[in-house]
Amino acid sequence: TLLGIVCTDAKVDPKSMRYFLRHVTSTSFNCISIDGDTSTNDTVNFFANGAAAPANAAPLRYHGDKQSRSNASLEDQDDTRAFIKILSKFFKDLSQLVVRDGEGATKFVSIRVRSDLNYATAKRAAVSIARSALVKTALYGKDANWGRILCAIGYAPGIMDSQELPLRNLVPTNLENQRPIYPVKPRRTSVSFIPADGTEELKLLLRGEPEQVDEVRAKQILEAEDLEILVRLEDDGETAPSGDKKVHEAVFWTCDFSHEYVTINGDYRT
């Protein structure tokens, strides 16, 4: 179970509290996984008592739509933007502490997925990788097993089933020629490991073609506690014109699966 309690002495408009919380939770606590089990009890509560705010301070308001943004003063909009940035970073840092304490975990893994279709596709892929027992055991074993990563993307709900179901109902279409747009195409998919020390990325799969992997380098990268897996679902190669392609990025944090996880949960007594 995940529980979180966050308090601030900034002054926040009561009606905006739930919108701020929902906004920052979507990219923090809702983007972590240790074992893929969603508890019956997960809760995060957020309190703001205004105790530090000057008497003439306006309450922070969430401007979620164009109308409310246009009604707000520039000063209010600046404050809201700054507050969201601070709150987002805070929630991300707090949520990542949970991943760092994953039962039996030895690794902290960031999964970054990029899609030029939409955020949902990127997130579905990231969640599937984070939930894969085989990906997580490979990470524990320090094995650069990118095949399991690809496999997990390929069976992700919303990605795998987009191939079978009536296309006109469920899959976005290219309006110009009515051809369906599949969320993931193998020949546009690339996977890399990004080392935590900022050194050069290790390319594992490039636009659907396996790379000749430097085993020594892979071992070096996987020895570290922190690792990033970068997945590009929109890789058309450097020679392809980028145009105005908008890239959506989802980041998810997880850990590895070790023998210790099984011991802890096998020994747990109700």
Partner: protein, 209 residues
Amino acid sequence: ADRSIPATKQKYIPTSGTYPKGFLAGSAFAGVKATNTKYDDLALVVSEAPCPAAGVFTKNVFKAAPVQTSSKFLSERKGHGFRGVVVNSGCANAVTGRLGLEHAATMARTTDQCFGSAESDAVPSTLVMSTGVIGQRLPIDRITNAIPKLHQSLGSSHDHWMNAAQAICTTDTFPKLISRTFTLPSHPGTTYSIAGMTKGAGMIHPNMA
């Protein structure tokens, strides 16, 4: 169980903090789980003056009693006038039927009474959280007996916040607490604070709304 913090996790434990004005935190021992005879398992985080609050909750169909109860309180109060949140570890109070819901409400009302609220007040101003084994009822008498002690334990020091962060832990190997200060463009001379605690090490894949 031994609660010593592994050496590799020590770096995540803050030795000091800057906590938001007007908030207090504390912990106490209730003995929720039979095997725990010494570690605090109740925590309380409150605002000295009632304030706005919000919550996000699991989308799991089998929502625990404290989840149902707290989201109901937030809805009925429209996010206004909350005192804080009381938390127990050692038992999730989940899949516990009508009695579980009563127990969650009892935790809230008993905490409210420490701040002078009448039992007849329509909607409690304290939210509730629980964590632990699913499917077992709370030892509610132990909890209600310990809540006054919990109220007495409140303070604003770093140790108070750390103790509360520790009391909500279950299989965690370290308490998780962060605090920091910030400013806003409209009042650059005003320093605000934000503090947060979290727990969890297993059964973690939150999907909250």
